[in-house]
């Protein structure tokens, strides 16, 4: 008896809810639009918070990319200002273009010797173009197709770049070493290198503009009997964490002046 009453009471509740649902469906649209906001505000508050969080994350991502490009531009400008003597004229800033190039592939062996980027000849990338990050030099472009380019990084065994000590202005040649470090060659035994010195590109060789950051001196071994002083450098750029590089594009039709004079093609051959 009690069970039957409970069953019928449950059925009555169910029918009331069903009829109420039908009633809500049949309400006029204007009335629906009037009554829903307060209920929606209460029940959908976490959902609105989630949506605004997603939009914030997306806008932060876009802002991050914009700031990374700005940082690379400023690093380039900084290099130009550090390198140019006051007497020379200003470099043609309009001729320089930094092309943001996402990294789409890496070498499978170490993940840091070669990078494939998704910008190619159609975007103005050429063989020999310098690849930069906001922190410093990444490497140079060694192969280009229409829409992709291969970047040889500073850790590729054949990579070499002429550098100088920003403090003492002494020249050397940087090449990859062990344990994610670079080694400096041709450092004379009496050269003044100290841990913490900033190493920048010297501009010699016609590939890398002068003044771009390479790294800081990590260790200096004093060996008076050695032909050259062993110096190791900690690069500024962490290649394995790069998701995007900036390719320095200089239009072929404009010859660089001033700060970028070292990029002009050689006209006089240096005797060996």
């Amino acid at each position: 008896m009690l069970g039957k009453k409970l069953g019928s009471a449950q059925d009555r509740i169910c029918w009331i809810i069903l009829l109420f649902s039908l009633l809500i469906l049949l309400l006029p649209v204007n009335f629906k639009l009037k009554i829903t906001p307060p209920v929606a505000t209460a029940l959908l508050l976490p959902l609105r918070g989630l949506n605004s969080l997603k939009m914030t994350v997306a806008s932060l991502g876009a802002e991050n990319r914009r700031l990374a490009q700005l940082a690379a531009q400023l690093a380039l400008e900084n290099a130009r200002l550090k390198s140019s003597p006051p007497s020379q004229g200003t470099a043609p800033a309009a001729a320089l273009k930094l092309i943001p190039a996402p990294v789409i592939a890496r070498d499978l062996g170490t993940l840091k010797r070669f990078l494939t980027v998704s910008r190619g000849a159609t975007c103005g990338v050429r063989i020999g173009s310098v690849a930069l990050a906001p922190q410093g030099v990444v490497g140079k472009v060694i192969a280009v197709s229409a829409h992709q380019a291969l970047v040889q990084t500073i850790f590729e065994p054949d990579f070499r770049v002429a550098v100088l000590n920003s403090r003492t202005r002494e020249l050397a040649m940087a090449r990859p070493g062990q344990e994610n470090l670079l080694n400096l060659d041709y450092v004379s035994p009496d050269a003044d290198y100290q841990p913490g010195d900033t190493i920048i590109t010297s501009g010699l060789g016609g590939i890398f503009p002068k003044g771009l950051n390479i790294g800081t001196v990590k260790t200096v071994q004093n060996k008076p009997d050695a032909l050259f002083k062993p110096v190791s450098v900690q690069p500024f750029v962490n290649i394995t964490r790069l998701e995007q590089v900036f390719i320095l594009a200089i239009p072929a039709e404009s010859l660089p002046e001033g700060w970028l004079e070292n990029l002009k093609p050689a006209e006089i051959r240096i005797p060996e």
Partner: protein, 155 residues
Amino acid sequence: MRQFFAFVLIYILFLLQTGFLPIGPDLVLLALVVFARHENKATATSLGFFAGLLFDLIAPRTLGIQILIFTMTGYGVSTLRNLLYSSHWQPVIFTFVALMLKMTALNLVSSSSPPLTLALCTGLTLILSPFAEPVLTRLFYRQEVRSRRQGKCQL
């Protein structure tokens, strides 16, 4: 207490579905079918009403359609569960019928998604339906399942 947590789970699944899985399985419908198979009619119908209300608040112009669909689903499943042979396929059949009802009703009010999206959502929901039952049963109806296995009478 269990009924309260059922409402909470429906709400959490609604947030998950609308916030992170706009094109994905209908998690709320899956949970509703499972709860309706185990709870009494009033609870099942109320759960359906609550689930439908949450979806209708997103699109207030068509307020009432999803409320009606989910309420009918809750009531229908709780009423018919004893009339059909209880098997692993029962939740799948109920889910399929509920999905067809939902798609038909939403088409009538012209607020349905593109066909490919609908097909994908339907397919994913049906694929997950056999797995939703054991998961939720373990969480909410462990005592009943244990008693059934031991052959004890449930009063």
